[in-house]
């Protein structure tokens, strides 16, 4: 055990003394988060909307006024029929259509409730999400002012409908996606480089002749990166929350547990690469081309999987990050519990076992 601890301490010293490693480990997650975060952020300014007012009473007029005078929205068209909604969206200019039901004011005052339907064009998911939240806020505001005037508590029911991309697939997705990317980078890339470095400078030869067991060498190499990547996950979560207000609805414990499984999968991939690659450069090429690129493109991080050709959709199943993204998104944005994600978790575990078994088999106790 003492041998093993000594090994881990040495590994930590090596990491902390290497400036390049430190930059990759700590600078990159932050830089990427900021770049991705700002790249997808949308300030709402004069978005063109349309109304389909089937009521045309004083209340709908007030709401419309309130919306248009808010500076966020600009009136693009007053629609006259349901059929025109589709037309309006297809024109491309109009991003949101707000529909008032007939006899809006009457229903609201008499029955205590009336309906507004908000339809947004979610082909630009971030925009749609922002529009929606602004609109809802303004309508809520109007409702509150109504409540103050009378003892009745009329409720305006906003019915939201996203068209073209109903699940708003990429909103906030950059955070789970980024976590997957960073973990893969730190765990797979950095470990594979760290192990092949020992081969390259010849220290592996000495380690092999030492009484350290192969499993101790591997685990000793891997543990520092496991801890550091956990640290990275926490940094990203804090930054995402503080800087970008990315919500986190689910359980943190469950999230860290899943992150741990994904980290181990990534580490096992790193070990696998290092058992094949002989030089640091080869290890880097394998990690970049074989892991990072597929992760960015095929995991659903940037491009929705459902939009891919069928063949690539099948292929995306063997990418660990895809499963991690489904889980992370579920926990972070929807707040789902383990009962909703056990299948994906099982797949990740299976992948981990598969890779680690191959790497242990492939690890050579000789040169």
């Amino acid at each position: 055990m003492k041998k093993f601890l000594g090994f881990i301490i040495k590994e930590f010293i090596s990491i902390f003394r290497d400036k390049r490693t430190m930059v990759v480990l700590f600078g990159m997650p932050i830089a990427q988060l900021i770049i991705f975060g700002f790249a997808i952020r949308n300030e709402l300014n004069d978005a063109t909307i349309a109304f389909f007012d089937q009521s045309n009473d004083y209340m709908t007029e007030q709401i419309k006024q309130k919306l248009v005078s808010s500076n966020y929205f600009k009136l693009g068209a007053n629609l006259q029929s349901n059929g025109m909604i589709e037309e309006a969206f297809k024109g491309g200019k109009i991003k949101e259509v707000i529909i008032f039901e007939p006899n809006f004011a009457q229903k609201l005052l008499k029955d205590g409730g009336a309906k507004i339907q908000i339809i947004t064009d979610a082909s630009d998911p971030n925009m749609a999400q922002t529009l929606l939240s602004y609109t809802s806020a303004i309508i809520k505001d109007y409702q509150t002012s109504l409540n103050k005037q009378s003892d009745l508590a009329p409720i305006i029911q906003s019915e939201v409908k996203m068209i073209y991309n109903p699940e708003i697939r990429s909103t906030y997705m950059f955070v789970p996606g980024l976590i997957a990317l960073i973990l893969l980078l730190v765990c797979a890339l950095m470990t594979s480089i760290a192990i092949t470095k020992e081969k390259e400078i010849g220290t592996m030869e000495v380690l092999l002749v030492s009484p350290l067991k192969p499993i101790e060498i591997i685990i000793g190499k891997v543990i520092p990166y496991l801890l550091l990547s956990f640290f990275n996950v926490i940094t990203i979560l804090i930054l995402a929350r503080v800087v970008f207000n990315v919500p986190f609805v689910g359980s943190y414990i469950l999230f860290f547990f899943i992150a741990l499984i994904f980290i181990m999968t990534a580490l096992s991939l790193g070990i696998l690469i290092s058992s094949v690659a002989q030089t640091q450069q080869a290890a880097m090429m394998m990690s970049l081309a074989g892991l990072l690129l597929p992760t960015i493109i095929l995991s659903g991080f940037i491009f929705p999987i459902s939009n891919m050709p069928l063949l690539l959709q099948w292929f995306s199943n063997i990418i660990p990050a895809k499963w991690f993204l489904i889980i992370a998104k579920g926990i972070m944005l929807k707040g789902v519990g383990f009962d909703h994600i056990w299948k994906e978790t099982l797949i990740l575990c299976g992948m981990f076992l598969f890779f680690i078994l191959i790497s242990i088999k492939k690890f050579k106790v000789r040169l």
Binding site: K2, K3, L5, G6, F7, K10, I13, S14, R17, D18, I201, G202, T203, E205, V206, L207, L208, V209, S210, P211, L212, V365, R366, L367
Partner: protein, 305 residues
Amino acid sequence: MNAVTVNNISKSFGAIKAVNNLTFQVEQGDLFGFIGPDGGGKTTLIRMMNTLIIPDEGSATVNGLDTIKDYKKIRLQIGYMPGRFSLYQDLTVEENLNFFATVFGTTIKQNYDLIRDIYVQIEPFKDRRAGKLSGGMKQKLALCCALIHKPEVLFLDEPTTGVDAVSRKEFWEMLKRLKQKGITILVSTPYLDEASLCDKVALMQSGNILEINTPENIVKKFEKPLLAMKSKNMYKLITALRSYKFTNSAYPFGEYLHYTDTRETYSVEGIKNYLMQMGVTDAEIIPALPNIEDTFMQLMEKGND
């Protein structure tokens, strides 16, 4: 008991036969040298003895343990210093030593006696990163690291390559002292002049052992009388001798040139006359005792034929 035995061992890399059917023993407590040019198979042979490479054919034992079956036990009893500098460049001298001590389940304190003579020389630099040490100091540190767990058999692969002459000399003196402490040392080197510092040497070329013996006995194998020659214009002297029809060999050694003749009997005067004809007027010719380098050159020539 023999510290190391090697039986009909062979290893090929592709079409190249790196080690070709070698058999020999190393007695306990010996300082045993493998001498030969690069590509002679020294590193491969050492790696087969220290369990890092499995031979294609044959077998080897260290302390009576089989290198394939009992490799784990052997690894506890040996020290190994690979050919290239293989310490952690980003760790300091002390951290490197500490690391290897811990990995081998010991402490610097416990075996300090063994390494003290060597370590005191690098101790003033103990907070310096290993990557920033000079070649000679790197070798000393590597030796300390290989010794820190008090191995019974020490394998050193070209420890003096790329090290200056003074450090080389110091290094061999350290090996002598280690030998006195009962450690069996197997060392490889491309420097022929280091052969005479070993108890026993194996002259290696192209995966074969040309000769295995004590340095004294190897010198005795030199078959022909040897002449040492000197001139102000050494280049002219060499070219003249190389074109001489009776020349058997002519190699420069330091300030002299060592010469053997193909004839059974000849006179020094005859050679001098020939040299005068060739324009070398100041040739100084004296009889010389062969050293191990002469013998090795001779053996290598034979091997090439």
